[in-house]
Amino acid sequence: MTAATPAAPRPSTGPIALAVVRARSWKVPIALSVFALGAVVLFIGFAAKGRTDFRFSQSSDFFRIPDLTVAAGPVAVVLAIVAVVMAAASWAIVVRGRRVHPWFTAVFAAVFMAGFLTWAAAGEQLPFTALLLGAVTLSVPLVFGALGGVIGERAGVVNVAIEGQLLGGAFCSALVASATGSMTLGLVAAAVAGVLVSFILAAFAIKYLVDQVIVGVVINVLVTGLTNFGYTSILSADPEHLNRRMTLPNLPIPLLSDIPIIGPVLFDHTIIVYIAYVAVAAVWFGLFHTRWGLRVRAVGEHPQAADTVGIDVNRTRFWNVSLAGAIAGLGGAFFTLGSVGIFTEQMTAGQGYIALAAVIFGRWDPIRATLAALLFGFATNLQNILGIIGSPVPSEFLLMLPYVVTIFAVAGLVGKSRAPAADGKPYVK
């Protein structure tokens, strides 16, 4: 049938829109209610006594901000009530069929956290600046690891080996820095170690098409074994020359480091931390605004399409997994040169897996992943500080805190995120 067609309508060029029934998501109100209930039980049920003293400055600071001292009991109660009111409001918002704005959740989190700190530090001094400073410091290896994860996964290779890259970087940085006496060479060695770990991942995942998650886990076990062996049989044999305590000096940035609170928290660090700042910006800019990034993302989303425009998929993946390893390996140097100065067995303690969680929580975006890493760092440091000042919360519970935050963050708050479409899938023509 080739009958003349009546004037054909132009195919619409707009986006395809289907009628959408927005399923009401009760996730946020339920979560807020649980926290509000927790606030009522803790802040009112176990009412705090005494005063809480928030310290914002140290005596050595150029500008000093006076301490904030509040009556712990009443303030915590007031904040608990605010939390309950906000939780109720979130129910009202959802019942009316609207979404709870992320800012609303953020303000709730701030209120809850303020109440929690007031309550937990009752009768004590809470060093607020130290709390934030530690959060930044502790998140640095997570930031490096997460950047390594973001690059690998954007290119289509799941980088579970972050843990191994961090650990390998930590080991080699300590060894090389001690042996040569140059911490710069130590940093270089850390990156090289990360690349070497990546080569194993890349070879098995890209060339031999082995399941990437399994290879990653095996690599982590392998690196743990290798570094343990190296530590006991090499480093411990001659610690004076092979595992000397060396730490990078703090390099306060003139003027910026004198700003109250922000200065000491962000601008008085070792070179590794500044490298992290630059790396986050560079990876973000690179991924979304350069040829390199466009190709990396193309290869991770639709490798066949990339192939048909002349991009060598497996070569691109190979070099970007290597780059990811270099970045994560550099993060490993933070454990040694950036903080304690020497290598000890399994000193990364699962931080690589937390970094992987930050990648997912951060929706495969370098900036968001960095924010996620900061959140995890904050949770860890909160546990440290509350442990030091002595709080009513049992220390066993506090130890769980970073991981509980991780699970909640990844499971509950990520929402609808979409991994690169070809993430974890080997490309075979």
């Binding site: 067609t5 195919p11 060029t13 959408v20 029934v21 350069t290 466009l294 192939d307 048909t308 425009v309």
Partner: protein, 506 residues
């Protein structure tokens, strides 16, 4: 630019996919490559595009021998390809897709998006396309996505364009527009290779036709050749292009669907308030461009969808909200649209696949044990009845051809006592011989008094089988029309135009 393939041979193991194929495409010529699925058309084009290397033979452009080690080389030489499955990154914008692989940059290595946008606009203007360079590709209708593919090829100054089954995803109207685009390209001196198995399209635009069967060139034809002539060249024997069926004798009972709505995970109404009925002894064809809710509708009928509202009543029994097991037990037979994904277990033998839906009890399972003897006897019988060409009933289904796989699915689904038969894309990817067979079995089920629903995106199939036709568009039914409704009316309905009355399309 003149393209010439000389004696191209490509082997995969013992299979010769292309056997000494030669063809020439002159500038400003549309050369049709006609052949069935599996005839070797796509392999040939992948050789041309550098994705595969030929074992023998050579590719010449303007009489110069070329060596392509990858698509990059082919593109540089001026060959562009519009792939059957679009080679576009869904989450990128149109401009990003067009620039990918030959990006221009400005200061600091930043991508030069303004230049890419300008290029998209310039080419769009040249061919009268209306494409927004900043639209994200996955949000565009397929017809527009195809234009992005064309723009992509032209932005690299392609002199020879290969269209690989370009009309499979288009409405008839979009197909007509594509034909216009091809003619315009031709006027501007582009050589076109048009791969298809649809005779109507070939005769409309081709300047020259080369027919391929089983990897070999079996003949050339002129565009004036008749349908039967082309079809028999393509298949290698005389074929019947129409299914013989008597007028339907519908009975009163059957399936009644009322206000059926299906939500996907994001809450979008992928099936929107659909109502229809199918009576015993008639075939209701559900036509529409792929992705307009047909898949979800058939899955909802079978109980495979999670969020379903409305009623599905079969002979007075409510099926909505029942489990798949209960729906099957109510007498529903189902041929899924992707047989490899949902219809068969490739590693299992033919016999095992034939009992997949009856693994919970007699006659094939007693006391938890598979009754091998009963199963084998049953499988042997079905092998004969459905003309499955296989070494034995123990052959893994994954090793069969598409046609034989589909016969196994049909054998399983049609060998129970049915009260409803749902076949989704029953002949997708099959050769003409198998299509004839499948169509005959579907008509036989109808004649046995079973209500039959056939979902198809191929208007030829809809026209051949349907007693009545329901056209779906964006989740809803645009209208239900008689089986002999003209193609152009159906085409308008597939684009969402509501059908008002017979012969008077809105």
């Amino acid at each position: 630019m003149k393209l010439e393939l000389r004696g191209i041979t490509k082997r995969f193991g013992s299979l010769t996919a292309n056997d000494r194929i030669s063809l020439t495409v002159e500038p400003g010529e549309i050369h049709c490559l006609l052949g069935e699925n599996g005839a070797g058309k796509s392999t040939l084009m992948n050789v041309l595009y550098g994705l595969y290397q030929a074992d023998e033979g050579e590719i010449l452009l303007d009489d110069v021998v070329q060596h392509f080690s990858g698509p990059g080389d082919a593109m540089k030489a001026g060959i562009g390809m519009v792939h059957q499955h679009f080679m576009l990154i869904p989450v990128f914008t149109v401009a990003e897709n067009v620039m990918l692989g030959h990006e221009q940059t400005r200061g600091l290595g930043r991508l030069d998006l303004p230049a890419a946008r300008a290029r998209v606009r310039e080419i769009s203007a040249r061919f009268g396309f209306d494409v927004d360079p900043d639209a994200v590709v996955e949000h565009l209708p397929v017809g527009v996505q195809q234009r992005v593919e064309i723009i992509k090829a032209l932005s690299r100054d392609a002199k020879v364009l290969v269209f690989d089954e370009p009309t499979a995803v288009l409405t008839p109207q979009e197909t007509d527009e594509l034909m216009d685009v091809m003619r315009r390209l031709k006027e501007q001196g582009t050589g076109i290779v048009f791969i298809t198995h649809k005779l109507r399209e070939v005769r409309e635009v081709a300047d020259r036709i080369t027919v391929i069967r089983l990897g070999k060139v079996v003949g050339e034809a002129s565009p004036t050749a008749g349908n039967t002539e082309l079809a028999s060249l393509m298949v290698g024997r005389a074929v019947e292009l129409t299914v013989h069926k008597e007028p339907a004798q519908p009975v009163d009972s059957g399936l009644t669907v009322n206000g059926l709505t299906v939500l996907d995970a994001a809450g979008a109404k992928v099936v929107n308030d659909v109502s229809f009925e199918v009576r015993g002894g008639e075939i209701l064809a559900i036509a529409g461009v792929q992705g307009n809710g047909q898949t979800e509708l058939t899955e909802a009928l079978l109980g495979l969808q999670a969020k379903v509202e409305g009623s599905i009543e079969l002979d007075g029994v409510e099926l909505a909200g029942r489990s798949v097991r209960q729906v099957l037990d109510a007498g529903v037979g189902f041929v899924p649209e992707d047989r490899n994904e949902d219809g068969l277990v490739g590693e299992f033998s033919i016999a095992e696949n034939l009992m997949l839906d009856r693994s919970s009890g007699a006659p094939f399972v007693r006391g938890g044990n598979v009754q091998t003897k009963a199963l084998n006897a049953f499988a042997e019988e079905k092998l004969k009845e459905f003309d499955v060409r296989a070494a034995s009933i123990q052959t893994p289904v994954g090793r069969l051809s598409g046609g034989n796989q589909q016969k196994v699915v049909l054998a399983r689904e049609l060998s129970r006592e049915l009260r409803l038969f749902v076949a989704a894309q029953p002949t997708r990817g099959l050769d003409v011989g198998s299509i004839e067979f499948v169509h005959k079995r579907i008509v036989a089920a109808r004649d046995a008094g079973v209500p039959v629903i056939v979902v198809s995106t191929e208007l030829d199939e809809v026209a051949a089988l349907a007693d009545r036709i329901a056209v779906m568009y964006r989740g809803g039914i645009v209208g239900i029309v008689p089986g002999d409704t003209p193609r152009d009316v159906l085409g308008l309905m597939m684009a969402g135009e509501h059908h008002t009355s017979e012969g008077e399309a809105a």
